[in-house]
Symmetry: C2
Subunit: 244 residues, 2 copies
């Protein structure tokens, strides 16, 4: 977001962007209360109506939440694992170990037919591919490729991804987009050679079955935003999903 | 439920059992309205208060539902796949093909330590093992072992399982217990020999990775009732979970 693009927007959208930047910079943490509408209006030199409109859009987008009669709060930043965790098989209620994330890089590619269709894009539309590795007690256990429509996330900076908690945190903090998982597909596959290398599986590669997860995610309005492919090594840990 | 055990129960519980039997026998289908409290009271020769108590317990157990001012309706019978389905990988919104179920048998075994713990039973507690095979266009695609506490489902009859739509339907229609999935775990595994045989995978067995699902289910009060292990062949189809 440059100063120029900011100036071309209506005032409420500028207020929204400023609030997002301040949330992204960590001025307010998850579940912190925002200042009141009139305090924000005063501070930003905008009308209370403008601030209200900006706040309402951020509430609708899932970035803020309101508590009746109490105020407006910052929504927690979602992790790339959402409600899922890697746990010991059979121990459904174990407290999960924290996975350590490593950002491997961002590249560009063109959407294949199935990905274009799932993301409601034209065929060969440009995508950003964000690759991340997850470690458990030092050993790689999962490899992610998140594919995002490049045009929707113009200006995505690899440094943001490197320094954030993940793709969803970056989308929320830098683009004001909260992501929710729409659908997940699970398969067992032999690990492909490239992924095997990145996951540190060497030698008898053909002997390693991996859990392959495809995930489709959308924004709060249901617009598809992400196609993710994740390979998990599950000989020690199981991909665990708790149901409401 | 024999006539003797029925007679030892309080009246409202007898009414509840009679209603369950009539639901199980298909007198009312899913979403059918039940007769009114006074019609049922008249028909069964019980007081309206007794009928009301029986209906309330069936509502609490998830077997009936009420619509304010309209009446009491039969809850749909859950399938053993719940909200999950087998779909073509990448086609998240495909309409799933119906899987054909084959009941393979019921046997008894004793709970291992992890299963006993998950089901909140003593170690070596007796379990019922219900084995089912699922076919897609004639070919086996999934094999289920549902493990249930034998004492909770005393009197389980293999014929009920053979003639019903599945384990959950049998529990609901014969025991008045509605099951909900609490937690699921996914792993990729090489298919064990016995399961490979039942799934019709012969020859180079060591080459077939399968999706292994562990599921813990409970009744509406959260009491654990089922440990299920499911092997799925996922080279053509993906285990698909839609999120609310």
């Amino acid at each position: 977001m440059t100063a120029n693009t900011l100036r071309r927007q209506p005032l409420y959208a500028q207020v929204k962007q400023l609030l997002l930047q301040r949330m992204g910079a960590g001025e307010w943490e998850a579940h912190d209360a925002l200042p009141s509408e009139w305090e924000l209006a005063d501070e930003l030199g905008a009308s209370q109506g403008t601030v209200r409109k900006a706040l309402s859009e951020l509430v609708d987008a899932g970035l803020l939440y309101r508590q009746q009669g109490r105020g407006t709060y910052v929504a927690p930043v979602p992790g790339d694992w959402g409600e899922a965790a890697l746990l010991t098989p059979g121990l459904f209620f174990e407290r999960p170990d924290e996975l350590v994330r490593e950002f491997l890089g961002m590249s560009r590619l063109n959407a294949s037919e199935d990905i274009a269709e799932a993301l409601q894009l034209r065929r060969l539309a440009p995508l950003l591919r964000i690759r991340q590795l997850w470690r458990w007690h030092g050993a790689p256990v999962a490899l992610d490729d998140a594919l995002l429509p490049a045009e929707a996330f113009d200006g995505m900076d690899a440094r943001w991804l490197r320094n954030s908690a993940g793709v969803y945190a970056t989308l929320q903090q830098r683009f004001g987009v909260r992501v929710k998982v729409v659908c997940e597909q699970f398969r067992a596959e032999m690990l492909p050679r490239e992924e095997a290398g990145l996951l540190g599986v060497t030698g008898m590669v053909a002997d390693v079955p991996a859990l392959c997860l495809l995930r489709l995610s959308a924004d709060m309005d249901g617009r598809p935003l992400e196609w993710r492919q994740r390979y998990c090594l599950t000989h020690q840990l199981a991909y665990t999903v708790k149901h409401g």
